[in-house]
Every structure is written in structure tokens, then in C-alpha cells.
């Protein structure tokens, strides 16, 4: 039975982890992820969730314990943010290379120095190449839904999956949301059984080492398998939509009918961007919004289709790739490079370290992008502008 409740983003995720009947949670506290682990600890303490909660001594050990538990056949969960994801970085490649369906949530946070516990996407962008399925939520409902889907996807494709939520903007905000019944979620995520587990009755060697004559073949196999995850992701989202009435796509459109200009965003600021699009539409501008829901595997085709009729694409990054501009903008450009007809692309960087991005700033970006577009057409080089900087 579904019900409408007011829930903090962190608590919504904890509910998804509970409904998935997760076996092992290994996590280390870090702002702004802490409410998730606190809530899960309570659930275990109250017997609402029958799991082993391993209070590890670091994020490196959090992911390592998840790897061990997953290799032993358990359904596992962890969550982290910012510095924690960075400390975990080395271990993130292990479940994807060993085909272990670990599920994780990242409460996106800026990276030191200077220290900032607030949201941006620096941590997410630093782990672009870890071989996980990665998706971005923009509200608490999505945070819950995508976490539920992450279990199903990870266990079907045997790759780990990570849901990115914006630290504080989602983790600490209470919103209305629809919570399905435990049984419905349990039915959606069937019992997990990995074909190979650490079992004395059927001993296998996991994590052997590879000299040059075989390493490339292991990576080729991994890449082929990872590329093939996309149909499963789409299938899972379709089935989820049919059951629960909320539909997800790798690239989602907002008022894109006849749009000549498109904004591209990821995460919680997308809802602010919608307001800006509404206002601009009322002012007569042909503006729409596209959001990348699926970040890895990258939705090349869906992005190409989304911008077919678009003349100007304005990409907002919440991270800096120093010396290279915005990382999302770089990837969007490379994804569209082979297209015969492609939009002019103008990138902006904003919302770093928890700074809000206002409706007016989105409107400013559209206006500025139109000026920059003229410069592009004149053959001039344009720089990635960092918005809202006090000088």
C-alpha cells in the first residue's frame, strides 16, 4: 500500500535500503551523508532491518567490507560523500572489476581545500571512470525510487550501482513523497543470488592478478559487459514506471517541444532550472531543459536525440576540471562531436561548495550564452564562465 509522507531525503533512502531487505551495511559517517547511516543504525537497533551494520573505521574500509560481504553473497549498501568518496576511491574499482553488485548512495559534496561540507559535484566527477552504474536524483522521491532501482539493476547486471543525491539540498530537506508498501518493493527486487560466491563447499579464487598477457582481455570483457547494462537499466525503469507510476529515462526532457535553446543540468538544481524555463517560455523564448538522469553508462544516443533540433545548448557544471572547464560540458561536447548537425555548446560553472543557483542566474546563463554563441560563430574562443563570483 502506497502512502504519501513527508520525509527527509536521507530517511527516504534509508527506507529504500530497509525495504530491499539489505543484509550488510558498512558505512563511515561524513557530512552530509550522516542522516542516512544514523537512520539505518536506528532501524537495525529497533529490529526494523535485519542487517549487520559494520561501523567501520574509514570509508576505505566501508567499501572494502561491502566488497567482502558482496563476494560472500550478501546484499550490501554503503553511502558516503566528498572526502569519503575520495578515500574510498581505490576500492571503488574493485566491485566493478569483480562484478559485485554493491549499492551505494553519494551525497554529493565539494572537495577540500578549503574544507567545505556543502554540495557540488566535485566528488561525483572524480569518480566518473570507476565502472559503476551512476545516476542522479533531483528530489527525494527520485532518491528513493532510484535507490530501489539500483538494487534491481546492480543485481541483474552484476555491476555496482550508485545513486547521486545533492548533499543538504536533498539529504537534509523534507519533501512530500509517495512511499510504496514493503511487499511491493520486495516483489520488485527479487531474492539475490550471485552465481559465484565465497563458499567453502565450492571454492573459487577471486581477485587473481593479471600480467600483461591477460590484463587487457579482462578489461575488454568488463567494458563489453558494462556497455550491455543499458538495456537492463531501461527495462528496470520501465517496469518500475508501470508498477509505481513514476517513469525514468537516461535523459529527461522538460518543455523541449520546439526548443531552440536547451539548458542541461544534473541533480537538485534542475528543479530551479525548470522555473527559469517556465519564466523564459512566458517571455516568449523557445527554451527547454534536459537533465542527465543516467551518468554511467553515458546516454550517448538519448542525448544526441534530445538536442537534434536545438541550436544552442547551455551546460551547467557544479564542478571544475582545472585547465579543462566543466567536466559535464566536456563530456557532452565529446558525445555530440560525431553528429553532423550539432548545437553550439556553451558551458558555465556554478553552485560550488553549496552556493545556491537562482532562477535569475539560469536566465542570465541563457542570455550570456546567446552572446557567446555569436562569438563562437565568429570563430572566437570562449571561456567557461564561473557564475556569481564576487570580484
Amino acid at each position: 500500500m502506497k502512502k504519501v509522507v513527508g520525509l527527509e531525503g536521507s530517511f527516504a533512502i534509508a527506507e529504500a535500503v530497509r525495504m530491499a531487505n539489505t543484509d550488510v551495511v558498512a558505512a563511515y559517517p561524513i557530512t552530509p551523508q550522516t542522516h542516512i547511516v544514523e537512520r539505518l543504525s536506528e532501524m537495525v537497533a529497533d529490529g526494523e532491518l535485519d542487517a549487520e551494520f559494520i561501523c567501520v573505521e574509514s570509508e576505505h574500509s566501508a567499501m572494502s567490507a561491502c566488497v567482502g560481504a558482496s563476494a560472500a553473497g550478501a546484499r550490501v549498501f554503503t553511502c558516503s560523500a566528498g572526502q569519503g568518496l575520495e578515500l574510498m576511491h581505490e576500492v571503488l574499482y574493485i566491485p566493478s572489476s569483480m562484478r559485485l553488485p554493491v549499492v551505494a548512495v553519494a551525497a554529493n559534496r565539494a572537495l577540500s581545500a578549503p574544507l567545505s561540507v556543502w554540495c557540488d559535484h566535485s566528488d561525483a566527477m572524480a569518480i566518473r571512470d570507476i565502472g559503476w552504474v551512476q545516476m542522479f536524483a533531483e528530489n527525494n522521491q527520485q532518491a528513493f525510487d532510484l535507490t530501489v532501482c539500483a538494487y534491481r539493476i546492480a543485481e541483474e547486471v552484476l555491476f555496482p550501482a550508485m545513486v547521486h543525491i545533492d548533499g543538504f539540498f536533498l539529504s537534509h530537506v523534507i519533501e512530500d513523497m509517495e512511499l510504496p508498501g514493503d511487499e511491493e518493493v520486495a516483489a520488485f527486487i527479487p531474492e539475490y543470488k550471485h552465481p559465484f560466491t565465497l563458499d567453502p563447499d565450492n571454492p573459487v579464487s577471486m581477485g587473481c592478478y593479471a600480467p600483461p598477457f591477460i590484463y587487457s582481455e579482462t578489461k575488454k570483457a568488463q567494458e563489453v559487459a558494462f556497455e550491455s547494462t543499458k538495456p537492463k537499466i531501461l527495462e528496470t525503469w520501465k517496469e518500475f514506471g508501470d508498477l509505481f507510476g513514476r517513469h525514468y529515462l537516461p535523459v529527461e526532457h522538460y518543455r523541449m517541444e520546439g526548443a531552440k535553446i536547451a539548458l542541461l543540468t544534473m541533480g537538485s538544481c534542475s528543479e530551479t532550472a525548470m522555473l527559469a524555463v517556465d519564466e523564459l517560455r512566458e517571455e516568449g523564448e523557445d527554451v527547454g531543459l534536459i537533465r542527465l538522469r543516467l551518468w554511467r553508462p553515458f546516454p550517448f544516443k538519448e542525448l544526441q536525440d534530445a538536442v537534434k533540433e536545438v541550436g544552442l545548448l547551455v551546460v551547467l557544471d557544479r564542478a571544475v576540471s582545472f585547465g579543462m572547464g566543466g567536466p559535464v560540458c566536456s563530456e557532452v561536447k565529446s558525445a555530440l562531436y560525431d553528429q553532423r548537425k550539432k548545437p553550439n555548446i556553451v558551458g558555465f560553472i556554478g553552485g560550488l561548495g553549496g552556493r545556491d543557483i537562482s532562477v535569475d542566474e539560469f536566465k542570465y546563463m541563457i542570455q550570456e550564452a546567446q552572446k557567446k554563441e555569436k562569438a563562437i560563430e565568429r570563430g572566437e574562443e570562449i571561456e567557461t564562465e564561473m557564475i556569481g563570483i564576487r570580484e
Binding site: V56, S61, G68, S70, A74, L198
Partner: protein, 309 residues
Amino acid sequence: MGIEQEDLFAPRLVTTEENFAPGHRACIGCGEALAVRHVCKALGNNVIIVTATGCVEIISSLLPQTSWRVAWIHTLFENVGAVVSGIESAYKVRKRKGKVPAAKEVKFVGFGGDGATTDIGIQALSGAMERGHDFLYCCFDNEAYMNTGIQRSSSTPYGAWTTTAPVGKKSIGQMTRKKNMPEIAVAHRIPYVATASPSYPFDLMDKVKRGVETEGPAYLHILSVCPTGWRSTPDITIELGRLAVETGIFPLYEVINGEYRLNVDLPKLKPVKEYLKKQGRFKHLTEDVIEQIQARVEEDYMRLREKVK
């Protein structure tokens, strides 16, 4: 029963099964491979072994081959304590939920070299011991980063030559004293801590069994002679392991629930020189330094004896 009879009798009690299969790629005379073989004999089949990156891992698991006839996993260098925690927790909860038969017997064991244990992996191991997971950890201590080419670790003894503690005009090699890892394990108040050596195989196997049967964390520190890194001839590996004990450099002892017990208590220690002179890594040491080492070994040994009640 006299010791001569035991020599004939005891080996027959040991299984002929080799769960650490022959054909691995260890150097000739490797004390560590021998120790792993004995440990695996004592562990039996119902075990899951987590191995850190290092010599044991690379000699045993070159794709597409494996030397492991038991369930085995390697992931990274510094995380054995955490991976074994995850596996143990997985079995615990899955037994509770009826996903694994409750009666199924599984032992959880971590393997690491001295680098993986006393340096880079000490945090994960400390965490696992503190949380009280049910596992046995075996440190195979060959006293340097042998796998990468004999670099010093915090477990390298004072005065030893290594490639990053070279002997020079201003250096006698390793200038610091060996970290006392068994005492660090004891400080976690875990129920079982012991030292062992493949030169004393029955003592070693007894300790493995005791450690793995102990409920909660158990720590076993095994001195593993490394002819390659110690610059010793491969035929004296067993002898060097014995000399390490007989000189008091590496005493064999157990700490069971905080109670110390010396397994080989020697009324008179052999001079450390007998141990040092057989190894190229100590050949540069002057009489002064050797005397200093002798004095420290005696002091440490007396301190340990005082703990034995």
C-alpha cells in the same frame, strides 16, 4: 613421550592434503610459502581466506591459474581487515536469515605480509579487531617489502640493510626498531595473540587451530625467513627460523585472554651474532652495533618473561 618418538609420530597426525597447492611461484627456500602451507593444513577445508597484495598473492594467483584449493579472495593491499569483516558479517546475517544453513561451519582468515599488516593495513586490521569480528589474522613477517624489491617496513629490524634503508657512510641500514605488532594486537584485548615460525611446524599448526577456534579476533604473527631479502642461502631457512627463536630475537609465545605463555622458554639464549652473521643484510654491522642489538634483545626477552606468570 620422548622427543625422538614425537618426531616420528607427530608428522603422521598432519593431513597430507595440500590446500595451498604446489607449483606456485615462490623463491627457493621461501619461509613464507612454507608457513602458508602449514597454516592451510591446520585450517582445513571449511575456510575463506582473504589475502593482501604481496608475495603470497602474486606467487599463488597468476591468472588463469591458482594455488588455492579453498575459497580465496584478494582485493587490495591495505584492506584485509575490512574485507574479512564484510565476509564474516555476511555469513552471520545470512545464517540468521536462513539463507545459509545455520550449522554450516566456515572460518574466516586474513593473510598479510608485514607491510600489509604493520604499515598500510594496520588501520583496517585494528578496526576489525576492535569490532570483535570472528576471524584469525596471520601476518607473514619477512621484515621488509620483499615483493617490490626489499624496501624497509616498520617491521624491518634495527641494523638491517634494505633498498630504502641502504648502508652508507651515514647509515647502518634500518635506523629504527622493529614495531612490536603482537603487542599492538594484545592492546586490543582480543582473546588470542601468538607468535609462530614454520621452523616449529607443530607449534605453528597448533596455534592456527587455537586461533581459528577462538571466538572473536585472533592474531598470529609468523616470522617468515626470506632468503632473497635477507641475503641468506635458501638451504638454511629452517635453521634461521630456529636461530631467531633460540637467540631470543623472535620468542614464541601466546597471549590467551591477556595471559602470557612462552612456548619455547630457553634458560640461556644463544648470542644474536649466530643469527646475524648468516644473513647478508647484517654483514656490515660492527661489533658495537651487534652488542647493542644483543643488549636490546636480552632486555626485551626479560620483559616478556616477566609477563609470563
